[in-house]
């Protein structure tokens, strides 16, 4: 699968994903904006394992931007997408507050998890891969870790109110 094939597939998925949250036309626009950034700013990213996460990141910023735009009650966002910095290191006070609140919710939800889930999450935060966690937790099959992680993640998501946002 070459880069163009990947971008074609990405566009289709992005439109479908965005259509669940915004109107179809707006979803088309969002997908177009994402692909434009990928084409223009990241032509050198050709590997699947780099391009897809990059697409997710750009998509998220574009959706946040659309959300802010809606908050401005129809005021047209004159700011070009290209001017947005992708790794929002600093962030506006609003973004910082939002992030702070999300962190607080995440910590509160983590505190309510069981011992095994907390331990699993801790290994993940320390950058351990699933096979490594399998060894650390003394399991014979990595599938056990996958299953535990899936359940823990669902429990964590539920404790956070059904959304990571």
């Amino acid at each position: 699968m070459d880069r163009d094939d990947m971008l074609t597939a990405l566009r289709e998925r992005i439109v479908a994903f965005a259509a669940l949250r915004v109107s179809r036309d707006h979803a088309e626009d969002l997908a177009q904006d994402v692909l434009a950034v990928l084409y223009d700013k990241y032509p050198h990213v050709v590997e699947l394992i780099e391009l897809v996460p990059l697409a997710f990141q750009v998509l998220r910023y574009k959706m946040l931007d659309a959300h802010r735009k809606a908050l401005r009650r129809g005021e047209y966002n004159q700011e070009s997408v290209d001017d947005l910095a992708l790794p929002a290191s600093g962030g506006s006070p609003e973004t910082q507050l939002d992030q702070k609140q999300r962190v607080e919710r995440l910590l509160a939800a983590l505190a309510q998890l069981g011992e095994r889930c907390r331990e699993l999450f801790r290994w993940k935060m320390e950058g351990k891969s699933f096979p490594e966690i399998q060894t650390l937790m003394g399991q014979t099959s990595v599938n056990t870790i996958y299953t535990w992680d899936l359940r823990c993640r669902k429990q964590l998501l539920s404790l956070m109110g059904g959304s990571w946002e």
């Binding site: 699968m1 990947m6 597939a9 990405l10 998925r13 479908a16 994903f17 669940l20 699947l48 394992i49 897809v52 996460p53 997710f56 990141q57 998509l59 998220r60 992030q99 999300r102 962190v103 995440l106 910590l107 983590l110 505190a111 069981g114 011992e115 907390r118 331990e119 999450f121 801790r122 993940k124 935060m125 320390e126 950058g127 351990k128 891969s129 699933f130 096979p131 599938n143 996958y146 299953t147 992680d149 899936l150 823990c152 993640r153 959304s163 990571w164 946002e165």
Partner: protein, 431 residues
């Protein structure tokens, strides 16, 4: 071959934490391009991924997880209890604690019940055998040291027994915790005075009849009520007929008629006289007609050059019984010498006519001999001091004939299950 959807969904957690291996990542993203649901899930995970990508937030989350791990004993305790193994452990532990508490309670109850006769034995030595003029001063030190006992002194013996029983615990504890020099005070002091050389020789030469204490006891006040009359009558029936020879009892002559004709019910009444330290459950089945317990002992003084050597003590019982011999030096606590320590036992079974011989070294000035129908239970050395006290109705007789030189000790009461005597070696003539 495409991976099943549910298999790839498991990799989502690694995507947010950025812990997927390159192979897992390739597999996941390739599948996401083909599968809208997986793509949506990944897109949703992006928010969490973004959050966790920030090193500061990641560090904070890690600290929070570590803190919860260190300071969260209560949830882990709950988890522990929720497991079947944890519940089993907790149940077993609770049952063990309950058993220990119950065992302690039963043991304490047993001690309380057995304390009555022991206290009676403690009081009794103050009344008998000294010369008539010595009797009143005996009451005085008791009055000073043990007011409760002195109050009960004028009562008839049975009444005194009852009165003393209530105070038995306190007194026994005091006796048990008494330092080794305890004989200098109270009843022990009196007993020591009584065991003077004069008294010893008197004791050896005396016939049992002279030891009858009823004649020496101060006459109780005239019964003023029906209860007093009943108590007095009961005391009279309980008083054993002591006009019998210890030697005769040892040799198997029938006891005096007053004792032999005692009704069977008395055996029940005298049951508490069983040594409180004895293992009652090991007691052999009691025969209908019990033989009074008796023993004979002799001393042979050895010589070591010009100086006297160890004394050889020979003890013999008149029936199958359990024997214990303790030695005591001055105020030191008694030492069990028979059975020997090496045997690991505390009771030596002996049969009628079997002679047990031990050598008593020069340092010891007293020997305690205990004979019981049942095996002795474990006692402390402090308790052994009290265990060596003779029963009040116990009779002693010395036989100094051409054929033998021995001392006989017997309890004419057939229901008595133990015989104890403390022999002072310092006053023994051959020493």
């Amino acid at each position: 071959m495409p991976e099943p959807e549910h298999e790839l969904e498991k990799l989502l957690g690694g995507f947010a934490a950025d812990t997927l291996t390159p192979e897992e990542r390739e597999k996941l993203f390739r599948a996401a391009l083909q599968d809208q649901q997986l793509f949506n899930a990944l897109a949703d995970e992006q928010a969490l991924k973004e959050l966790l990508t920030d090193p500061a937030i990641r560090r904070r989350v890690l600290q929070s997880l570590a803190r919860q791990r260190g300071t969260g004993p209560s949830p882990s305790w709950r988890d522990w209890f929720a497991r079947p193994a944890g519940l089993a452990w907790a149940g077993g532990l609770a049952a063990g604690v309950f058993a220990v508490i119950l065992g302690l309670k039963v043991y304490q109850d047993g001690l309380h019940q057995a304390a009555g006769p022991a206290a009676t034995e403690e009081v009794r030595p103050t009344t008998p055998s000294p010369p008539p003029q010595a009797a009143p001063p005996v009451q005085a030190p008791l009055k000073d040291t043990e007011p409760k006992a002195s109050k009960s002194a004028p009562l008839p013996e049975t009444a005194a027994k009852d009165a003393v029983a209530s105070a038995s615990n306190t007194r026994e504890k005091a006796a048990a915790s008494r330092p080794p020099q305890a004989p200098h005070s109270s009843a022990d002091a009196t007993e020591k005075r009584e065991s003077s050389p004069q008294k010893e020789s008197q004791k050896r030469d005396a016939t049992v009849g002279t030891l009858g204490k009823s004649a020496e006891q101060p006459a109780p006040a005239a019964p003023t009520s029906e209860l007093d009359r009943l108590l007095l009558a009961e005391e009279k029936t309980e008083q054993p007929d002591l006009s019998v020879s210890a030697r005769a009892l040892f040799l198997g002559q029938p006891p005096a008629s007053g004792i032999a004709s005692r009704p069977q019910g008395d055996e029940v009444e005298s049951a508490p006289k069983t040594d409180r330290f004895a293992l009652a459950q090991k007691a052999p089945q009691r025969q209908p007609a019990l033989k009074p317990m008796a023993l004979r002992y002799t001393f042979v003084a050895g010589e070591k050059g010009d100086r006297p050597g160890p004394v050889t003590l020979t003890v013999e019982s008149n029936q199958e019984a359990y024997l214990q011999i303790w030695t005591r030096a001055g105020d030191a606590l008694p030492e069990l010498v028979l059975p020997a320590k090496e045997t690991g036992r505390i009771s030596l079974k002996t049969v009628a006519g079997q002679r047990q011989e031990i050598k008593v070294s020069q340092e010891n000035d007293r020997v305690i001999v205990r004979l019981s129908r049942v095996p002795f239970g474990p006692i402390t050395r402090q308790e052994a001091v009290m265990a060596g006290r003779s029963a009040p109705n116990q009779v002693t007789e010395s036989a100094s004939t051409a054929q033998e030189q021995a001392t006989y000790v017997a309890n004419p009461d057939p229901s008595a299950s133990e015989l104890a005597i403390e022999i002072s070696l310092s006053t023994y003539p051959s020493r």
